[in-house]
């Protein structure tokens, strides 16, 4: 397995050839009546060709806005891309004209949305909707585009595609519609597939079908996958690398096995501790105290400090950067991984291990 998270390239220069998507210090702010919401505030990550990355976070953490900014589907104004670069396939795509972006969208970068019912047009057959984009991007005849639609429905396991292709979205179940969304996304053989909570609206047995399907197809077509989810279980099964987001920032990133087995940022630790499990039966669940910060009134330094069980003075004075933690390229936004935090680190890890294994509340 090759490494997705590479050393940052100096701003302005294209990333190495094997890097398909390189997001650098991205800042997407929303200007609203009450002030400015820093929805995405300095996010950087990169993704190699054919690899998978997971963006995890709770509601309001900025994971969907990150994806929409990559697609350039954010309305400006009220949004503003205050800073950053997004390199896709050797090109900086925040600065290209929107017409050129439209050629990439659906063709080289495709997106699967959470709610398949609202993302499909109810008045066109699904065949029309898939064929439309094939026709537009691949410059082929109507006939060929239609055949391609049937082919992609077959690829995602929809039975009798010749008949299904003439149906309308309302004639299908939720799982089937999500398959149609995937078929549509795959119809132009994109280099990057962005899936925003692709299974959140689905039942657990259907979720299992869709996840297995995404995995199989990703192996087959060798496209890169950026998976956005709040479900750590889905991340564990689907991706190679993961970025954990909190309040608009990446608080931890690394290989999925390392981040989920040996988390280094207190927020990730807290998330994993609060997952109900059989071992915790009879005891209390560990909970992260308090709630996510108000975006108009972010904590001055570390954004997790008011909820963090390990915070000390430094945490409310100086905002932490992403520091290397562990031996395998894992990064964590926490002062525990600086020399100043070193004396506290061991105790924090012991505490985490205890909470992970037995149910116990934080006082």
């Amino acid at each position: 397995m090759t490494e997705t998270i590479t050393a940052p390239t100096p701003l302005g220069a294209p990333p190495p050839k094997n890097v398909l998507l390189d997001v650098r210090n991205l800042k997407t702010y929303f200007h609203v009546l009450d002030g400015v919401v820093p929805a995405v505030d300095g996010v950087s990550f990169s993704l190699q060709r054919g690899q998978t990355i997971g963006i995890v976070g709770e509601s309001g953490s900025g994971k969907s806005v990150t994806a929409l900014t990559v697609m350039r589907l954010i309305d400006i104004p009220p949004a503003e891309i205050a800073d950053g670069e997004i390199w896709f396939d050797g090109k900086e795509i925040l600065s290209i004209p929107i017409d050129e972006m439209r050629k990439l969208r659906g063709n080289d970068i495709a997106m699967i949305f959470q709610e398949p019912l609202t993302s499909l047009n109810p008045v066109f057959t699904i065949g029309d909707q898939i064929a439309e984009q094939v026709e537009r991007h691949k410059k082929v005849s109507k006939r060929a585009a239609w055949d391609r639609a049937i082919e992609s429905l077959q690829l995602v396991g929809i039975p009798s595609p010749e008949r299904r292709v003439k149906q309308y979205p309302h004639e299908m179940s939720g799982g089937m519609r999500q398959r149609v969304m995937i078929a549509m996304a795959l119809s132009c053989e994109p280099k990057l597939l962005i899936a925003d909570e692709p299974t959140t609206a689905l039942d657990v047995t259907i979720q299992a079908q869709i996840l297995e399907l995404l995995k199989t197809i990703q192996d087959r077509t060798d496209s890169a996958l950026m998976l956005i989810t709040h479900d750590l279980g889905v991340v564990a099964e689907m991706v190679d690398h993961v970025c954990v987001m909190y309040a608009g920032q990446v608080v931890e990133q690394g290989k999925v096995d390392e981040v989920l087995i040996d988390p280094k940022a207190p927020y990730t630790m807290g998330l994993l501790e609060s997952i109900p499990s059989v071992e915790k039966r009879g005891g209390r669940l560990s909970a992260i105290k308090g709630t996510v910060p108000n975006p108009f009134n972010m904590p001055p330094a570390c954004r997790f400090q008011p909820r963090c069980p390990y915070a000390w003075d430094l945490c409310s004075e100086k905002a932490p950067d992403l520091y290397p933690a562990g031996n395998s390229g894992q990064l964590a936004r926490c002062h525990l991984h600086t020399p100043a935090g070193a004396p506290r680190l061991a105790a924090a890890m012991v505490d985490h291990d205890r909470k992970l294994n037995v149910g116990e509340g934080i006082d």
Binding site: E58, S59, L155, V156, G157, I158, P159, S160, R163, G174, G175, M176, R179, D203, V204, T205, I206, Q207, A208, Q209, L211, E212, L213, K215, T216, I217, H230, D231, L232, G233, V234, A236, E237, V256, D257, L260, I261, G270, L271, S274, I275, P276, S277, V278, K280, R281, R284, L285, S286, A287, I288, K289, G290, T291, V292, P306, G359, G361, I362, D363
Partner: protein, 400 residues
């Protein structure tokens, strides 16, 4: 009691509390039912812990589908179609299943928030299926519900005092002062500040709103609370706060819960006994240990296999079910699960599955399953099915 409840104030003005009530605080139910406060009506005694509090027999709820020019009934949705179970006093009884399996309809039918089509419901030894709404009203105090959506279930135009106080008023607590006191007490019990009574729902976060919903249910001093997906709309970190609160309240107030959820990990952590539902029927019923360690229905096996595990060390190959849940308006003949059943396929599609509806049968110690071939389920059979399944062709149950 005053002092006891004071101790539990654990909130700051802006934050949700870290935990629920502190340990060891023994509290009275928020809405004691002394005759001077609420309408005096003879309420049935709660049976001792472990005895059946709620008995459901042959419960059915069918919804008509009307259509055509004359608005005639053209079909029937068999939302709940013959369900039997007991809920024992003090336990957490969970109903799990996918959307459309009838778990919510069942949860509401046992409280008669939806009138059942057939069957009997016995609550604290009293048959509540046939009694009139007037007779039922005083009993409602003992049977409450918490809803899934913390945004949709609180009236945005009512302050918290009215949201929680409405039920008390309906139960005849006319005096505003007594009512407000009771409202404040129940806010305190769920870990919110007493001063919050004047606020409106939009001023609270999702987790806090869910606490208000819980306070509303507890204000009347219920014996049984139906929790309909109480944490599904919440983020993980908030979810554990609310689950902890529900567990504390059960211990302190001797509550019984019917917990409705589609999340099998939460159910495993939270409940004592579980009923797995599929298309309006119970597929399997047993304690958490029985069901999760030794599932005896092919549907339960598939549900358990489908849970994504956050621990990469426990990553495993999944048993993926084919197709979608059939429509409850046209449930399959025989065993309702036979159209998607991996075990039936493995056994060479025995005819019995599609002709004869399996009844719940006992596997010992109260573990019941509704499968003709439950004995065939083993690690080996499951393993061999997982090894040979084709993932892309999982959508095949096509009702051409």
């Amino acid at each position: 009691m005053e002092d006891e409840t004071r101790r539990m104030d654990a909130t700051t003005p802006t934050d949700a509390p870290d935990t629920g009530p502190t340990d060891g605080a023994s509290t009275e139910p928020a809405g004691g039912s002394s005759p001077t406060e609420m309408n005096a009506a003879p309420l049935p005694e709660r049976p001792p812990l472990g005895e059946p509090l709620l008995q459901v027999r042959g419960l059915k709820k069918h919804f008509p589908i009307v259509g055509g020019l004359l608005k005639r009934q053209i079909a029937t949705v068999y939302a709940v179609d013959g369900v039997d179970f007991d809920v024992r006093a003090g336990e957490i009884f969970s109903l799990v299943g996918e959307s459309g399996c009838g778990k919510t309809t069942l949860g509401r039918s046992v409280l008669r928030l939806i009138e059942p089509t057939a069957g009997t419901i016995t609550f604290s030894g009293r048959d509540i299926t046939q009694i009139s709404q007037d007779e039922l009203r005083p009993l409602r105090r003992k049977m409450q519900i918490i809803f899934q959506d913390p945004f949709g279930s609180l009236n945005p135009r009512m302050p918290v005092s009215d949201i929680i106080g409405e039920g008390l008023l309906a139960q005849g607590m006319k005096d505003r002062k007594t009512r407000d006191k009771k409202v404040e007490d129940s806010l305190e019990i769920v870990g919110l500040r007493r001063e919050y009574t004047r606020r409106y729902p939009h001023e609270f976060s999702g987790g806090q709103r869910q606490r208000i919903g819980i306070a509303r249910a507890l204000a009347l001093g219920p014996d049984i609370v139906v929790c309909d997906e109480p944490v599904s709309a919440l983020d993980v970190s908030i979810q554990s706060q609310v689950l902890n609160l529900l567990l504390d309240l059960r211990r302190d107030l001797n509550l019984t819960y019917i917990f409705i959820s589609h999340n099998l990990s939460v159910v495993q952590y939270f409940s004592d006994r579980v009923a797995v539902m599929y298309l309006g029927r119970i597929a399997e019923l047993g304690t958490v240990e029985q069901l999760y360690r030794d599932p005896r229905h092919p549907y339960t096996v598939a549900l358990l296999s489908a849970i994504p595990n956050a621990d990469p060390r426990r990553r495993k190959k999944r048993l993926v079910l084919k197709g979608d849940v059939p429509s409850p308006a046209a449930p399959p003949s025989g065993c309702r699960f036979h159209t998607r059943c991996w075990l039936r396929e493995k056994l060479g599609n025995p005819e019995r599955c599609s002709t004869e509806e399996p009844a719940l049968r006992d596997f010992g110690a109260g573990h019941q399953t509704a499968c003709h071939f439950a004995e065939e389920i083993s690690e080996q059979t499951i393993g061999s099915v997982v090894a040979t399944q084709s993932v892309v062709e999982t959508a095949v149950a096509d009702p051409a």
